[in-house]
């Protein structure tokens, strides 16, 4: 009765495909309107802040549509934050599956990264459609560099998420601390304002936050009237590479512990 000879070929591919199906099923299948909530989150934020801005002040950024500015910021920010958040629990949520020898912890991380990126791309397309439908000015100043910046932001998210996934496995308190650190980021990451519009003293402080550089980068390339003068490329390069290397080192060291715990 030879039914299916088990081969050790393309394991990574098969495992990630299997996990992807499973992840989609658990994420969207069991909850009603699962797909809807992913989009609703960002939508609500944009409507609230665009509305507030209308009420509170007149145009401080004359040459661009503030709603589009918000949309670009929020979508980028949520993409980053979701990658980090999902990575934090990637191992613990899939622990039962390490029973299958070929499922290894890094598979679950990569699966979640792919899925987050896929969801974000579809969300962006839906927003583009809505924006186009309501006649917003969606023109992009430098398309290629906007996409590249977004790509870099994804790598940055992965690098922080990768390191976090291992640390949260090693130290129970890490995930809690990380959640506390992540929550104010929405307001201190130059999503609803540009660095240029802040007083110089505040600029200096806020530029320690690497996400501010990424937001400036993406905003600067997207809008003609904004620039990337405040972006310190070296600074965000280190923020991307150092956690990644540290993560790889810790992963090699602790992979067996993560599988067997």
């Amino acid at each position: 009765m030879t039914l299916m000879r088990v081969k050790n070929k393309n394991i990574d591919y098969h495992v990630i495909v299997g996990l992807l199906y499973r992840e989609i099923q658990t994420r969207f299948g069991s909850k009603q309107f699962g797909y809807f909530w992913g989009i609703f989150d960002a939508m609500l934020m944009i409507i609230i802040f665009a509305g507030l801005k209308k009420i509170v002040s007149s145009n401080s950024m004359l040459h661009l549509d503030f709603t589009v500015f918000l949309a670009v910021g929020f979508l980028s920010f949520f993409l980053w934050k979701n990658i980090v958040n999902k990575s934090l629990t990637a191992f613990s949520a899939n622990k039962a599956l390490f029973l299958y020898q070929r499922v290894r912890p890094y598979h679950t991380l990569l699966t979640r990264l792919f899925l987050e990126v896929l969801i974000s791309i579809s969300t962006i397309f839906i927003f583009l459609f809505i924006g186009w439908f309501f006649g917003f000015d969606l023109s992009i100043d430098n398309f290629l560099f906007t996409i590249l910046s977004l790509g870099w932001l994804i790598v940055f998210g992965f690098s922080i998420g990768f390191l976090s996934s291992i640390l949260s496995e090693l130290y129970e308190i890490y995930a809690k601390v990380m959640n506390i650190l992540l929550s104010p980021l929405l307001f201190i990451s130059a999503i609803m304002y540009s660095v240029e519009s802040l007083p110089p003293k505040l600029q200096e402080v806020i530029l320690y936050n690497p996400l501010v550089h990424f937001m400036e980068l993406i905003h600067g390339f997207y809008f003609k009237s904004l620039n990337t003068n405040h972006v310190d490329f070296e600074y965000i390069f280190y923020w991307t590479v150092v956690p990644l290397i540290l993560g790889l080192y810790l992963y090699r060291k602790h992979e067996e512990r993560i599988i067997s715990s």
Binding site: K9, H14, R22, A96
Partner: protein, 219 residues
């Protein structure tokens, strides 16, 4: 062939180390069905997990280029909120099955497990016996070099037990089994060689009968 080189495995408690294996060197030849015996708590299940490469020695190495099934009967790799069918699909996918093969595998497992409507219900509603049926049926579909089985043969009613044993007997013509059992009859029937594990030491026997005698002398 499975080679254990200077393998040490222990569990740390607050004060002491509890040794499962203490600097063990053995070599298990290919093409043999292996029975593992030992008193409760000696580390039989841990040894199975290590052979299946989902647990690892603290020191030393286990070398083999064979494929191993997941250990059946030790917990289960199922997601509670998903149905039996969806879980079966997942396992088939990670082992590279697609389309026709996937359908064939699902109907095979459905037929074998005989759990009726439960197959389309979430796993969290299953009894442990039902989970084992599913897990065992699933592993029968694949040809691993080694099937790792932990007491699963005692699942279900007598008719199901007989069916499982018949399937396994058929299966081990191609695959080999690594079996933990407290039933000497099952061990005699399925296994060729034996491993006796106790107090951090393991002894390899060329003949399962000798292993059984050693086990019975010590219990």
């Amino acid at each position: 062939m499975i080679i254990l080189k200077n393998v040490t495995k222990y569990f740390k408690t607050k004060k002491t180390y509890k040794y499962i294996l203490n600097n063990v060197n053995i070599c298990i030849p290919s093409e043999k069905n292996i029975g593992i015996l030992g008193p409760n708590g000696a580390g039989k299940s841990t040894l199975l997990r290590m052979l299946g490469q989902i647990d690892f020695p603290n020191k030393g190495k286990i070398e083999s280029n064979c494929t191993f099934s997941w250990p059946m009967g030790l917990g289960n790799g199922f997601q509670g909120s998903m149905t039996g069918r969806e879980n079966v699909k997942f396992v088939c996918r990670i082992y590279g099955l697609k389309n026709k093969q996937l359908k064939k595998a699902i109907s095979f497992v459905e037929d074998f497990a005989e759990i009726g409507d439960y197959f389309n219900m979430p796993i969290k509603l299953y009894s442990s016996g039902m989970k084992s049926r599913l897990s065992f049926g699933l592993s029968l579909f694949f040809d691993f070099d080694y099937m790792i089985i932990d007491e699963t043969l005692s699942v279900g009613d007598q008719r199901f037990q007989k069916k499982s044993k018949d399937m396994l007997r058929d299966k081990i013509k191609k695959s080999k089994a690594i079996l933990v059992s407290h039933s000497m009859d099952t061990l005699r029937e399925i296994c060729d060689v034996g491993i006796y594990i106790n107090n951090g030491d393991i002894t390899y026997f060329d003949n399962i009968e000798e292993a059984i005698q050693c086990y019975q002398k010590n219990v």
